[in-house]
Homo-oligomer: 244 residues x 2
């Protein structure tokens, strides 16, 4: 690497020249850098155990080392990279055991959220959820996996949002972003295609009854099932490194 494209004196020289009234909001560089790095890791362009060389990344992303360092620190708090003291950062490996832990935690959080959601969901929110659920069911019936999975994710997020607890929501978002990687590697979990749909049906029924305990229990079981499928896929595929 180490090309000669020096960021030099450019950087953020121009702005506002393009769209006039567009509130671009000018996302700080360290933020977009973090997003791009996160994608690079999730998509496997940076492989497990690989070092995050600050100067290289700075050159690739065309910023200086400062925002790169800040971005790496952020990724570290998200668990995407391990920070070695004085020896830089590496893409963190995830063992099957760690994935199991992660999904166990997600299951717990989503159970709590489901219980609270059953108590606090508004009629309006519930109707919206119901519509999403129906759309998902149609995609399921049609065998449209991509759309099905996307809606599935959205529904989980909506339920957590309905719990009306931003702290819980933040924890959930963080865990889900970590799970992205595992999902990406094990693009399987599609074996659960059918049971998962049935569980969602029952979950919706429990929410309709505003039965928190039942909704929580179903959600937890649902998540643990997803986790098991994921772990199984990772264990057979087993191209992923463990590290640590």
């Amino acid at each position: 690497m180490s090309d000669m494209s020096h960021p030099k004196l450019l950087g953020r020289s121009r702005r506002g020249a393009g769209a006039p009234a567009a509130i671009v909001r000018a996302k700080p560089l360290h933020e977009s850098a973090a997003e791009r790095l996160s994608d690079m890791i999730v998509e496997g362009r940076l492989r497990v155990g690989e070092r995050l060389h600050e100067a290289n990344l700075a050159a690739v992303l065309e910023v200086s080392r400062t925002p790169i360092r800040e971005a790496i620190k952020l990724l570290a708090t998200e668990g995407l990279v391990d920070l070695l003291p004085g020896r830089g950062a590496r893409v963190s490996g995830f063992s099957v055991e760690q994935v199991r832990e992660l999904f166990e935690a997600i299951a717990g959080v989503e159970r709590n959220a489901s219980e609270l959601a059953a108590e606090r969901i508004t009629e309006r929110e519930f109707e919206k959820l119901q519509r999403m659920h129906e759309r998902m069911a149609r995609h399921h019936a049609a065998g449209e996996r991509q759309a099905y999975f996307r809606l599935n994710q959205e529904i989980h997020l909506a339920i957590v949002a309905a719990a009306k607890n931003t702290t819980l929501q933040a924890i959930h978002a963080s865990l889900i972003s970590r799970a992205r990687r595992a999902r990406y590697e094990a693009l399987a979990s599609e074996a659960r295609w059918i049971e998962a749909m049935e569980e969602h049906e029952r979950l919706m029924a429990a929410l309709a009854d505003r039965n928190g305990q039942l909704a929580g229990a179903i959600m937890q079981k649902h998540d643990l099932g997803t986790a098991a499928a994921m772990v199984a896929a990772l264990e057979t595929g087993s191209s992923s490194a463990s590290a640590r």
Copy 2:
């Protein structure tokens, strides 16, 4: 401010001269800076809503702005400060509502942890827990609040550790560190002195029986009780700002 104590060429010059085999590990500046800032916020030396002026803090902590900036970013992920885009950081306010959310989340996590702990705790761990519990009971009986609360915290941590899920443990640690501030402001919660002890007794019994569901339920109720006491204390004291 802006004193003339330039860090200049000193910094991390000497090492290893003192203790020979001591693995000092040389904590990076941004890390110790984060800890010191965190303490300053928790202890109220930096008040809610107050701006974190990078140059000032750099002078006070006798480092340059760079590690200060990195530390502030870390505090932001921990929720101790709010990051205004382009306008620096402020000590985040916590409304009573936010405290309620926080403790609701803690209650959920500790319930999950208790359930898992009941399944996974080793005999050895349980015995240690039992001894801690007994010591706590003695402090309780003797009216030694400080020691009582310290052991109380340790027991909660030990139970989470016994759940054998590092992800859950990390979430818990993060939430607890946020709760520190609320606890500091409302140094009350001491009204719960008695019920809390009874709940701990029942919790230990449930763990002894390896009854996860019961242990989880007790723990959650226990935490929600603590939360209610805390919120009540904050509402009467009500010197804390809300911000947002």
